[in-house]
């Protein structure tokens, strides 16, 4: 049974309590650095996104605000950078559940290591798309905005004038970070009084022991469980509706073409995707560096050729490469300059492919990605029953 402790919140400010918790990790030498979202323009400048920042000086944690509903990028790629190869001291990374799951996928692909990192996840109410977040925070002070968001979100009220929670978040059925060493519990918790911290791993247990935090009242943990279940149910329902709509919108290759018709092949989706881990996308290599006469040949085939070419090919290939690892963070849609609903497509297909292989992206670091292994007897249906 996982240990759950209670972290006292003073001044009804859970963000502050979280900051103090992170500061303790640094001052007590439990972590050499903390990676967490931080307001970088808090001192009167325009309110920008909350960017992941690697902090080693506890005094500089002041504007750290991982709970802010800003999600400019999936930080799994950053944790990968910070854990690939020789490190220095251990790192504590405060991540959304989808970031933890994406990082887990990257570790399986040798793109990072769990050895020297403390993964701290939190109950995630979701975040606003990059374009919406500035409208949400407006001119409010960071903490004020975040606290208001937590209060509203706990009642299911996330959308307002000019800002709507990202669809990926609304459809996310993994709002808690089960795979992280520690998960900060917010759901169903009176965050003005306390935060719950659950250890999911032996490393997490060890940390909680070192920090000597008191076990929580089982009723608080129970209340969180119920709230979590409720939230998952609501999000699953949203997801299923989204799947149904997307499936209809892409039920033929022709419709899929129309669905992707605004794609300009900028490949931002793949750059933003945390599990598209290639150094260089094959679509940017010379394999796709076509000659002028090739274009003419293709155009002659049907009398016309959409330029840029290879759009369907690109998305279908990307689906074959990473739908099995898709954690549904929605950064692809967040990054698309033309509003192509990329996330909806990848989540739909990812759901199907992951189910087909009995695999769930980010569930468990021990689970091998389906295309990296094989068995002698399996999937007999693929070859019409003969294996």
């Amino acid at each position: 049974m996982a240990t759950t402790v209670s972290l006292e919140v003073r001044d009804a400010n859970p963000t502050k309590a979280l900051r103090e918790f992170l500061a303790r990790l640094l001052t007590e030498g439990l972590a050499g650095g903390v990676l967490a979202g931080k307001h970088l323009s808090a001192n009167g400048g325009p309110q920008g996104a909350v960017m992941p920042t690697l902090v080693t000086d506890p005094a500089l944690l002041e504007t750290t605000d991982p709970l802010a509903p800003s999600f400019p990028l999936n930080a799994a790629r950053l944790v990968s950078r910070l854990t690939r190869g020789e490190g220095e001291g251990s790192l504590a990374a405060v991540l959304r559940p989808c970031e933890v799951r994406a990082f887990t996928e990257l570790v399986k692909l040798n793109q990072g290591a769990m050895d020297n990192v403390i993964l701290i996840g939190f109950d995630c109410y979701g975040a606003y798309p990059n374009a919406d977040y500035p409208r949400f925070i407006a001119s409010r002070a960071p903490d004020e905005a975040t606290l208001a968001f937590l209060a509203a979100a706990s009642k299911g009220l996330t959308d307002g004038e000019g800002y709507t929670l990202a669809r990926a978040c609304k459809a996310c059925e993994h709002p808690a970070a089960g795979g992280a060493d520690l998960n900060i519990g917010l759901f169903g918790v009176d965050t003005g009084q306390r935060l719950l911290i659950t250890a999911n791993t032996p490393r997490g247990e060890g940390l909680l022991n070192r920090l000597a935090l008191s076990d929580t009242d089982p009723a608080h943990a129970q209340a969180r469980e119920s709230a979590l279940e409720e939230l998952i149910a609501a999000r699953s329902e949203y997801r299923d509706t989204m799947f149904a709509e997307t499936a209809t919108a892409t039920e033929s290759l022709g419709k899929l073409g129309a669905y992707l018709s605004n794609c300009i092949s900028c490949y931002n989706c793949r750059a933003a995707c945390p599990v598209c881990y290639c150094k260089e996308c094959v679509f940017l290599t010379d394999v796709f560096d076509h000659k002028p006469w090739q274009y003419m040949g293709w155009a002659r085939k049907n009398g016309q050729l959409r330029m840029p070419t290879d759009t369907l090919f690109f998305h279908l290939t990307r689906l074959s490469h990473m739908s099995l690892s898709c954690v549904g963070c929605g950064q692809c849609s967040n990054a698309c300059p033309n509003g192509v609903p990329v996330m909806e497509l990848f989540r739909l297909v990812g759901d199907r492919t992951q189910r087909a292989f009995g695999y769930e992206a980010g569930r468990n670091a021990e689970e091998a990605p389906p295309l990296t292994v094989f068995r002698e007897k399996e999937f007999a249906e693929v070859t019409g029953g003969t294996d």
């Binding site: 033929s252 022709g254 689906l319 693929v382």
Partner: protein, 140 residues
């Protein structure tokens, strides 16, 4: 009405199915001319991109065929191919591509008759299904 003549691309492994195709030829086993072979060294070499490229390039179906399980010239390339085809089928059927348009079979080097049958059956199946969407679509 004119009979629909499907275009089918087959990725076949050098050691088993390509050899079986040679054997079928030597034995003069009549086959539909709709299937065009691409010789690969092993089905394990067939990148899903090749299948997608063929389908998007206007093929009405793709056949991938290699050695029987346990018989692979390269020990286990065919098992890897099976997983990739499984994945492709999952992806493509969602977009209305009939499952029969991506076919994986095992045809051993000595099975010339199997090869001819596979070809003829596939052509009939696809003829029944009608043209694939991409053959009528602008390549995008």
């Amino acid at each position: 009405m004119e009979r629909f003549e499907p275009t089918i691309v087959a990725f076949v492994c050098n050691w088993c199915t390509y050899t079986a195709a040679d054997l079928a030829g030597t034995a003069r086993m009549i086959q539909s001319p709709n299937v065009r072979l691409v010789r690969m060294m092993c089905t394990g070499m067939v990148d899903p991109k090749y299948v997608l490229k063929a389908l998007l390039g206007g093929a009405d179906a793709v056949l991938i065929s290699g050695c029987h399980p346990g018989d692979c010239h390269y020990i286990n390339g065919n098992y890897k191919a099976r997983r990739r085809v499984k994945l492709l089928k999952e992806i493509l059927t969602g977009f209305g591509v009939d499952e029969r348009r991506v076919k994986l079979t095992w045809v051993g080097a000595s099975e010339g008759n199997e090869f001819a049958e596979t070809v003829n059956e596939l052509v009939e199946d696809i003829r029944e299904l009608g043209p694939g969407e991409t053959s009528r679509m602008m390549v995008i």
